[in-house]
Symmetry: C2
C-alpha cells in the first residue's frame, strides 16, 4: 500500500515514516504544506535508515499530491491544524482511508488535560470534516513521538483503533501490527474515540510526575 503522512515532517509523522519504511513493505510518502520541506524530511529519514543499514525509499510531496497517491492517509498534524489540513486535501481523498492520531489537550497549572472539540473527540472532528465517502479511523493517539522516532528504541505498545467502517479499521489495524512492537486493538466505533484520546494527556502527566518515566505508551492486559 501507499501510506501518505500529512504533516509527516515532524512529531508522530516522523516516527511513523521511519518505522513504516523500516518494518513494512508499504511505500511511505511524506507530505507537507511545502513540497520542499517534505523532500528534506524524506531525505533525512532515508539517511537515518541508511545509518542503520536499511535502504528504504521514502517519497515526498505536497500534502494534496501525497494524499491523491495514497491508499491510507494519516493526518499527523496537531489538532488545531486538523480541519484545515483535511479540507485542503478533501478533493484528493478518493478511495482512501483517513487516519486521525491527533488529540486535543490543554496545559494548566495542574498538568495537561484532555480538551476535545465540541463533536466529542478530534477523531470525530476528522470524520465530520472529511468527505462522506472517506472512512475515518482513529489510531496512533497514544504513541510517544520521541520514542517512536528513535529507531533504536524497542516498542511494546498497544494502539487502540476506533472507527465505524470495519474494512477501513481492519486495514489500519493490519498496518499497525506490521510495525514491530505495536499491537492494534479494537476500541470500538468513532463514539469511543474520546476515551482513547484521553489516555494521551494521562501519559504526559504520568511522565511529568514520576521519576524515571518518560515518553510513555500503554499496554492493556
Amino acid at each position: 500500500m501507499q501510506i501518505a503522512l500529512l504533516g509527516g515532517t515532524g512529531d508522530i509523522g516522523e516516527g511513523l515514516a521511519l518505522r513504516l519504511a523500516r518494518d513494512t513493505d508499504h511505500q511511505v510518502i511524506v507530505g507537507s504544506r511545502e513540497a520542499g520541506k517534505a523532500e528534506a524530511a524524506a531525505d533525512e529519514y532515508e539517511a537515518a535508515l541508511a545509518d542503520r543499514g536499511h535502504s528504504d525509499d521514502i517519497e515526498a510531496a505536497e500534502n494534496a499530491t501525497a494524499a491523491a497517491d495514497a491508499d491510507v492517509v494519516v493526518c499527523s498534524v496537531p489538532a488545531y491544524y486538523l480541519s484545515d489540513t483535511i479540507e485542503a486535501v478533501a478533493d484528493d481523498l478518493a478511495d482512501t482511508v483517513l487516519v486521525s492520531p491527533a488529540v486535543g489537550m490543554q496545559r494548566d497549572e495542574s498538568g495537561v488535560g484532555y480538551n476535545p472539540p465540541g463533536v466529542g473527540s478530534v477523531t470525530a472532528l476528522a470524520a465530520a470534516v472529511a468527505p462522506d465517502d472517506v472512512p475515518v479511523v482513529g489510531a496512533f493517539h497514544n504513541l510517544a513521538a520521541a520514542r517512536l522516532s528513535t529507531l533504536d528504541a524497542d516498542l511494546d505498545w498497544d494502539v487502540p483503533v476506533v472507527g465505524d467502517d470495519a474494512e477501513a479499521k481492519a486495514t489500519v489495524s493490519e498496518l499497525t501490527d506490521d510495525i514491530d512492537g505495536l499491537r492494534a486493538l479494537d476500541a470500538g466505533g468513532l463514539d469511543n474515540a474520546s476515551e482513547v484520546e484521553a489516555v494521551t494527556p494521562l501519559l504526559i502527566n504520568l511522565a511529568a510526575n514520576n521519576d524515571g518515566m518518560h515518553d510513555l505508551g500503554v499496554k492493556f492486559w
Copy 2:
C-alpha cells in the same frame, strides 16, 4: 493502618479486601449499609483466604462505624451511590484519607462511554462532598474487579493516583504498592482525575471487542 472499605461487600471492594488482607499488614474493615451483610462478606473473605492457607482477620461493621475506626476509607461503591455514602459517614471521617475508585460510565449501542458528573470527575465529586478537612485521593479506578477478587490471578497493573494533598497521596500510593502486582503512579492533582477515570470504559470496550481479552488493566511504560 486500619483500612475501611465502604461497600466492601462487592465489586472492587471484595478484591481490595482480599488482597490487602493477604498481601499487607494492614487491618481490613469491610463496611456495608447493613452490619450483617458486612459480617457475612468478611466471613466469606476469611474463608477464601483460609482455603489458600492464609489466616487473616477481616473485621466488619456498618459503614459509619467502619469509617470512624479507619486511617484510610475507600469508598468502593458505584458512582451513583457515592454522594449518599460519603454524606452518611461524613461525621465519622476525622483524621482519615478518603479514597475514591468509582467511575461514571454510560452504556449505549457503541459500547461504554465515560460519563463524568458536572464537577468533571467522580473523584472531584467525592472531594466536593467530603468534609473540607478530609483529603480525597483518587485510586484503583482501572482495576478489573473480577480479576482483582480472583486470588489465584497474578496482577501486573499500574494504579494512577490523583490528589491535591501530597501526604494523603503518598499514604495511598504506599498502600497500593503493598499489594502484590500493583504499582502506584502519580497522575497529578484532582483536576487530572477525569483522564484516569476515562481509562475504565476504554478497558471495558477493549475487552468487549478483542478476542481473548477480558478483565483488563493497564500498564504504562
